[in-house]
């Protein structure tokens, strides 16, 4: 699905300057060729005298003629050039093709994943890719190949038996969206992966082989995935056993283990450990144990010493984790021996147990608890999954605190939680404190109508939402199973098939078994180290007019401010003295900040991009997260449940392109209409991700140079989206897949 963004960015810049489609088309393949043909120094598709002259002119210096990258143009470079004399071998263009059709710009949603049985469209942006109208070509659906496999074998074999012949039409992308025949019957079977990967090739010369001039979706990576139902069981039967953990706190030694019945035929298996909450039982999570073990994981749920507090339950999590590895030879009659992977451990904790797993991680991080020798280490903990956790400790310091540090976090929360309520009068009840505290990749799943004990089988009914909005335990657990599986596969690198489930709007994409009418708000914040650039996270620059990356911020929206994400009083009633009303997201010791503003007429906010960050061409997404202001007059005034606006990229030459935040479905969800803590209705703020594929800004011939972005602008109001509104906004950044 990844495209050669650099070449496409340059292309459009060139095309705009020359104003000629001919130049666009020519440049496309020249640029693509030069990337694969380094001695072609002048990018004309040939290695000839002109290139030789250019190389010789750089002799003894560094420059483009330094073909071996040793810092100086010398004899070895000359030899390489002479060895490549003649025409460069052209390559096909890596382009996004598999998509869902959209009713408005950018006309197609080029996604990674489709559910099995879904309709899949091939979206061919003839304008952008310089393809000739009326051309006849063949569309091939193939089993995924790596780049090296394509190089070794460019022949085309369609999994449907025969390719599909298309005739391109005038009108660009909107006129060239073709339903892929037979897509609804594509297999999703792929062992323990959530899906099967396919490549899509537009064979322009109908040669039956991948060749110059063809378009391919999936040259380097998978073109698209067809997913199994992530909420349904996987392929393994589950075996269940119980055991007593040696060395655990007296009275809290019992554990239940779920594992693939055929584990003997498997290698090292990741381990998921479940730590229950207060008044809960270790036997209450069968739905997770059975589900995850059927997908090839070993799952252990243990007694958790939660009533005294977080220190005690974090200790039982640590003790049981160590005991599982230490005792594997005797658990389940030794069936697990040699199959438990101590380098791939996931801790799942519910409520106090969720607080406890973060405290346990912090204790490992601070070396205030040392695992038994030969069992596990801090580095083995790959993902923390708190479910509606408490936050008794706050960030803390060395020897205290529930701090995930840089460990990835995936958080579940139910908006109708009557216990860990997200209320403004207690940091302990604010689950999102832990989430905002995380420095690593983080993602959350906020489920309207779910209560605290919907996440286990048997806890008391604590539902505290408006009448008629209860989602019910079965739908909540269906969502939990699929999202947890996706998060685990994502962070363990088992499959990229599931990542769309983490960040695409729920309205747009969800597991087949999930309730389509449920309201689920997804957030996803990758670390900067994972690629991309943070334009503004509101942390390091406190001045409103300056972004955290140092660029200027200008705006016509009203009430623009930025400060700590803290509801500063005891109610959710809107008050001007509490600008972050509903932002129950910082605990003791936390300093996470965000921006906020409102509008009642057409208005905008614009970030200048610094020169060092202006090249978006190698990035994949532009993203931000936003939340509607709880019980704010402009939130109350809205007549729709999702707020939208428009995002515009502006390049250094003034070229620009805009995409509506709601183009892909949804928008920024209105807060759950729960009452209490003052007048009105609306609960805590719900940060929701807006993530746009950067190449969508290039759709259908849009003229913006991704390699030289100067500004990012958000437009609000009539003509751009919802007419009035109030937003908190954070983490404006580019990111990679």
């Amino acid at each position: 699905m990844t495209e050669d963004h650099f070449s496409t960015g340059v292309l459009h810049h060139t095309a705009r300057n020359l104003g000629a489609q001919f130049a666009l088309t020519a440049a496309l393949f020249i640029t693509s060729s030069s990337a694969a043909c380094p001695p072609d120094l002048d990018d004309d598709g040939l290695v000839d005298a002109a290139d030789l002259g250019q190389l010789l002119s750089q002799w003894g210096t560094s420059g483009s003629g330094d073909l071996d990258g040793n810092g100086v143009v010398a004899a070895a470079d000359l030899a390489q050039l002479l060895g490549s004399w003649g025409a460069c071998a052209a390559t096909p263009l890596d382009a996004s093709l598999a998509c869902n059709q959209l009713g408005s710009y950018p006309h197609a949603n080029f996604v990674n994943s489709f559910n099995a049985g879904a309709t899949i469209t091939a979206g061919i942006d003839t304008t952008r890719h310089g393809l000739t109208a009326q051309a006849t070509c063949n569309l091939w659906v193939l089993t995924d190949r790596t780049a090296s496999q394509w190089q070794a074998d460019p022949s085309l074999t369609d999994v449907r038996g025969v390719p599909q012949t298309l005739t391109l039409a005038t009108g660009g992308l909107p006129a060239n969206r073709f339903t892929i025949t037979g897509a609804t019957t594509l297999s999703a079977d792929a062992a323990d992966s959530l899906g099967r990967g396919y490549d899509l090739v537009l064979d322009m010369d109908q040669s039956g082989a991948l060749s110059s001039g063809d378009l391919i979706d999936g040259l380097d990576e998978v073109g698209f995935w067809v997913l199994k139902d992530a909420s349904a069981n996987g392929t393994h039967a589950t075996s269940i056993s119980t055991y007593t953990a040696s060395g655990a706190t007296a009275g809290y030694t019992a554990a239940k283990i779920y594992y693939p019945t055929d584990i003997a035929s498997m290698g090292s298996v990741p381990v998921v450990i479940i730590s229950h909450g207060n008044g809960h039982q270790y036997t209450w999570y069968d739905y997770l144990g059975n589900h995850l073990s059927s997908w090839g994981f070993v799952v252990m749920s243990h007694q958790n010493n939660t009533v005294p507090g977080i220190e005690t339950c974090s200790l039982t999590t640590l003790q049981h984790t160590g005991a599982l590895f230490a005792q594997q030879a005797t658990i389940a009659a030794g069936a697990l021996t040699g199959h438990l992977d101590a380098t791939r451990i996931i801790w799942v904790g519910h409520s106090r147990g969720g607080d406890g797993i973060l405290r346990a991680y912090d204790r490992l991080f601070d070396s205030s608890w040392t695992p038994p020798a030969g069992t596990f280490t801090l580095a083995g903990i790959k993902l923390l999954i708190p479910i509606s956790p408490t936050d008794f400790n706050g960030r803390g310091g060395v020897g205290s605190g529930s701090d995930p540090h840089s460990c990835p976090v995936y958080l579940f929360y139910g908006a109708a939680d009557g216990d860990v309520c997200g209320c403004p009068d207690s940091n302990v009840a604010d689950s999102f404190n832990l989430y905002e505290r995380a420095l690593g990749d983080k993602s959350s799943c906020y489920i309207h109508g779910a209560d605290h004990n919907d996440f286990n089988c048997c806890g008391v009914n604590d539902f505290a939402g408006p009448a008629g909005t209860a989602l019910g335990t079965a739908p909540v657990q269906s969502i939990t199973k699929s999202q947890m599986l996706a998060a685990i596969q994502w962070k363990l690198g088992l499959s990229d098939a599931a990542t769309d489930l983490l960040w695409r709007p729920y309205e747009d994409f969800r597991a087949v078994g999930n309730l389509s009418t449920a309201i689920v708000v997804r957030d996803f914040v990758p670390t900067e180290s994972g690629g991309g650039s943070v334009i503004d996270d509101f942390q390091t620059q406190t001045a409103v007019a300056t972004s955290s990356s140092g660029g200027m911020v200008s705006a016509t929206v009203t009430g623009l401010a930025e400060s700590v994400l803290n509801d500063n009083n005891l109610t959710f009633t809107w008050a001007t003295t509490d600008p972050h009303n509903g932002a129950t997201r910082v605990g003791v010791g936390d300093t996470q900040r965000a921006g906020l503003f409102e509008w009642t007429a057409a208005s905008m906010i614009e970030w200048s991009v610094t020169a060092s960050q202006s090249d978006f061409a190698d990035d994949v997404f532009l993203q931000l997260r936003a939340a509607q202001g709880t019980r704010h007059p402009q939130t109350v005034a809205q007549t729709t449940t999702s707020l939208t606006f428009t995002i515009t990229l502006i390049d250094s030459a003034g070229g620009q392109s805009s995409v509506a935040a709601g183009a892909y479905g949804g928008g920024i969800q209105r807060p759950y209409l729960r009452t209490g803590y003052g007048t009105g209705s609306g609960w805590q703020e719900e940060f929701e991700l807006v993530r746009i594929r950067l190449t969508d800004f290039l759709a259908n011939g849009a003229q913006v140079d991704l390699a030289h972005i100067a500004k990012i602008r958000l437009n609000f109001g009539i003509g751009s989206g919802t007419s009035v509104g109030r937003l908190e906004i954070d983490d404006i950044m580019t990111s990679k897949e």
Partner: protein
């Protein structure tokens, strides 16, 4: 209620302290036999039991409202069962910040207002007994009966001298729910504050009649250690809050 008592703290957590505890345990054992007229039971063996009253109807799990946190301090309704115990191997309780040592006390089944029995993830009202924190074994939200371990304390005279050879009786022990907090954060200073607040609220010691009635049901026990105590506690959970058995402390998986 105004009696000053002392529950063993970390200063007894040494070899000499343990020896003194064991000596004290023997004395307590005799005293319990005398005061409660218990059935005879060998150490580590549970005596036959009979319920004092029939368990109340189970609290519905499909309640439409999660009960609000009650005001504290709050008195319990009554103690329906109290079973004295003494341990050969005392244990440090993680239910206090100062990790007090538990060598003897009572396993109790008590009734309390429903809102105090519902497990909460946020801070729960701490169950106090005398001058220490009790150890909850079963919340009791499914039946209305909480099962807990009440550590025994030493009396303190007017001069502040601790009588380490004597033990406060159950009759002279107040049991109540104090301010919401994690028990692991409760220390002696806080216990003193909560005790004063309880007294001000009119919460009194259990008294002879109530204690005698509660103690009549089960025999005193001398048990080896915490694990053995947990096993007996589980019997009470099985009888009074059976739906919470899997939640109760145990040291072996129960089929």
């Amino acid at each position: 209620m105004h009696r000053r008592t002392y529950c063993l703290g970390s200063r007894f957590n040494d070899r000499a302290g343990s020896a003194r505890l064991l000596l004290g345990a023997a004395a307590f054992w005799v005293a319990s036999l005398a005061s409660a007229a218990p059935q005879t039971a060998a150490p580590g063996v549970t005596a036959p039991v009979a319920p004092v009253v029939a368990p109340a109807p189970a609290i519905r799990a499909d309640r439409s409202e999660f009960p609000a946190l009650p005001r504290t301090p709050s008195a319990i309704i009554d103690v329906v069962v109290a079973q004295p115990f003494a341990l050969e191997l005392p244990f440090e309780s993680e239910w206090r910040a100062d990790q007090s040592v538990v060598s003897r006390g009572w396993l109790v089944v008590l009734r309390a207002p429903e809102a105090l029995l519902i497990p909460r993830q946020t801070a729960e009202p701490v169950l106090y007994a005398g001058s220490t924190t009790a150890i909850r074994v079963a919340h009791g939200y499914t039946s209305g009966y909480m099962v807990a371990i009440v550590p025994a304390c030493h009396p303190v005279d007017e001069g502040g001298v601790i009588d380490a050879d004597a033990w406060v009786t159950l009759a002279d022990t107040a049991i109540w729910f104090g301010s919401p907090l994690l028990p692991e954060r409760v220390d002696a200073r806080l216990i003193a504050e909560e005790t004063l607040a309880a007294a001000a609220a009119g919460i009194t010691d259990l008294g002879n009649a109530a204690a005698t009635k509660a103690l009549a049901a089960r025999a005193s026990l001398v048990l080896k250690d915490r694990a053995a105590l947990a096993a007996v506690a589980r019997e009470l959970v099985a009888q009074w809050a059976p739906a919470e058995l899997a939640e109760a402390p145990q040291d072996a998986v129960v089929p």
